[in-house]
Each structure stands twice: as structure tokens, then as C-alpha cells.
Amino acid sequence: MSRVLRPLGTCVGLLALWWALARFANIPAFLLPGPGAVAQTLVSQWGFLARNALVTLLEIALGLGLGTLFGAGCALVMVASRGVQRWLLPLLLLSQAVPVFALAPLLVLWLGFGLASKVLMAVLVIFFPVTAAFYDGLRRTEPGWLDLARTMGASRLAILWRVRLMAALPAFGAGLRIAASVAPIGAIIGEWAGASEGLGYVMLNANARMQTDVMFAALVLLAAMTILLWVGVDMLLKKLLHWAPDS
């Protein structure tokens, strides 16, 4: 019960604070619209907002899927071959040394205003936490499990596939949870750098026209989407990792 009530209480508290600030702190509505005004905008512009939210959601989902696949693949390849690991690991670290934000305009220039540049941005944000967590998990297999498999005559491939991979799934899950919470950042940055639709595009436009209520409405939708995505991923992982001793 408290698992539902506590976050709900936090939300109501924040809403009350927001309402009180907007109502009593003498902040003009074009700087901070109240929760009521934002709710009204959400309703009156629902069609427009929902259409753009769907675009962003698609970018996030594709980015999360591809980023996870790519990240998991990198981790597996690095564990399977020490030679590849020696080349790939510095490359991966280098990819994180370049701020992803700085790449956004370049990606838009190369891939255009459409979906591809945003999905790639999301992939760039996501794959590293997935790779790092999964790679770490793959390397930290309980030594006894490996010994047992060796005495049973398992091949290297069988050990990687049937022991190390399975044992690394909880770590992979931890990476995926982080990825799910940062995925929207990639998509939104991509939209800010150049787009013709999506919540990031809506926010940028609304900001330029001082339509702060529309900006807030888009922000609320984005936050709701991020939370739902995280909860969905979390529920899926709990179901898949039901065997883990701490789940």
C-alpha cells in the first residue's frame, strides 16, 4: 500500500508547492503558470500534444531498443574476445568523453530533421550504461559456477552463453533501468537541435512564443512518459529476474 501512497504523497506535495508559488509569490503567469492553467492547456490542446508525444515516444522506444541491443552486443563481444576488448574499451570510453549534447547538431546535419537523428541520439545516451553494467556483470561471475561448468566439460561458448550471460542478467537489468530513465534526454536533445515534430520541438516553439503553459504541459507529458517507461521496464525485469535472490 505504502508503495503507491508514498510517491503519490510526494506528487501531491509538489503540486501544492507549485500551486502556492504561482498563487502567492507574485510570479507572473508567463514565467510560472499554475497547475490549473497547465491542466487546462493539457485538455484544450490534447490532440496536438498527444500527436507530438507519440513521436517522442517512438524515438525513445526505438532508441532504447537499439541502444540496449548495441550495448549488450558490445559487452558480449568484449567478454568473448580479449583482443576485441583491448580495442573496443578505449573507443567506448572516448565516445563518452565527447559530450553527447555537442554531437546533436552534427547528427541532425548528417541524418536530417526526421526520426533517425533523434533515435541515434537516444542510442548514444543509452548504450553506455547498458554496456558498462552488462560487461561488469559478465566479468564477475561467481568463480565456483565457472569451475563447476569446467569440470562438467562445458565449452567456452557454453560457459559464456549458459553461465556468464545468465549470471550477468541482474547487472544488465540495473543498466537497463538507468537507460530507461535517461533515454528521453537523448530524444529531447535531438529534437532541440532540429526537428519538425515531437515534445522537444513543441517546448522549443512554445518557449520562443512565451507560451509557458504549453511548455509546462509538454514537460508534464514527458515526465509521465519517462515514469511509465521506467515502471514498465522495472516490472518486466522483476518478472524476468524472479529467480534472483534479492528480487
Binding site: 565456483g144 569451475d147 563447476l148 562438467m152 566439460g153 553461465v163 529467480w243
Partner: protein
Amino acid sequence: MKQTPKPPGLHLHGLTLRYEGRPLFEGLALRVPAGRCVALLGASGVGKTSLLRIAAGLETPDAGVVEADDGQALAPRIAWMGQQDLLYPWARALENVTLGSRLRGQRPDHARAMALLEAVGLAGRERALPKELSGGMRQRVALARTLYEDRPVVLMDEPFSALDAITRAQMQTLAATLLAGRTMLLITHDPLEACRLGHSLHVMAGQPARLGPAITVPGTPPRAPDDEALLHTQAELLRALLAGQGA
């Protein structure tokens, strides 16, 4: 159930292992006669586990060989039981028992695995995950897994040390009964366990470690914990262990 192949004797000659330049043991020799159980006792850190790991092919000695007395390859005829149950947490009891088959890409023999689970007193628990089983039950699954491998040589590294006294005594009886007739090398720090399960015992002590003369216990394993000859041997062993410690 099919007949286990005739067990070979186990010969360890001239084993030397250095750890950080310091010899753990030098020129160590041990014979385990076919179908017999030899127990090796010693304080922790004396090199018992390393010796067993060398016998299991998990570690390479600096010098010396481990071979079967019939001249045939030893590795495919060895089953290994480690200090913990080493059940894979993602696999159900039945899948843990048939682990060897699945790791080698063979078809698991479910009927035989079910019969073994019944033999260790776990009928009806084949679908249980390791986290749903008690320590004693998990060790029973590990024993069924060892029996499923059906190897004529069994190496055991303090397999029951993590269990409480009563469960340990039950597991010793069960293991000795079900593994009877195989060539066994048992590492333990528990004199009672050595006396109950071993046809003969050696104390391993010193730096570098040496093996003391064989001590034989009258009667056939598993001996009753209150057997008079056993209690006598246990006292003798304890004296030898204390002498090895320089006490």
C-alpha cells in the same frame, strides 16, 4: 539405473605448487585406491583446496601429475563438489541436476534426474528455484547433480561445511550411501566427517605441507557418529592435527 563404469584408482605424484614464490607443497604424493574414499584433513590455508583443484584439473601445478591408475584419461571421469552447493539460481532443481547435460549440449535425461531427486529426498520439489530451498535441500540438489554426472571419481571440497550439525550428519550418511563404490577424495577440516566417510585419512600440515601417514578407521562408511572405533580415531586425529599446528 545404468551401471557406473568401474572406478580407477587416483594417483597424485610429485605435486608442487608455489604461491607468490612460497611453496604451498613440494613433491607431494597421494594414492586413492579404486572404489575407496580417502579423506584429507588440515587447517585452513594449508593447501587442501589447491590440491583438490589440481586433481580436478582446475589449477595447473608447478610440477607433478595427476592420473588414473588404468592409464586412461581422468578429466572426463571426474565429478567435483565444491564448498558451496553452487546451484545456478536461475535454474530450477531439476535443471540444476541435469546441468551437465545442458552444458555439454546433450539431451537431459529427466527421468533419471527425477529418480535422483527422489533418492536424495526431494521428490515433488523438482520445480523449486534454489532461493526457495533451505541450505540442506540445496546441498541435496547438489548431491543429485553430482550423482547425475555418474562419474567414477568424485572430488569433494568440504561439501557440507556450510550446513548445521544435524543436516551435515544427514548429508554425510546420504552422500556416503549413494556415492559408495566410487573413488573419492574428500577434503575436510572436520575430524568427525573424515572419520565417518573415509576408508583412510591423512593429515596435511606444515610449510610446505606434507601428508601424514594413513590412518584407517575400522568398519565401513558411513560410520555411526557414536561408533567406538570412530571416536577413538577422531581423538587420534585431533592430536595429529594439533601436533601439525605446533600446539
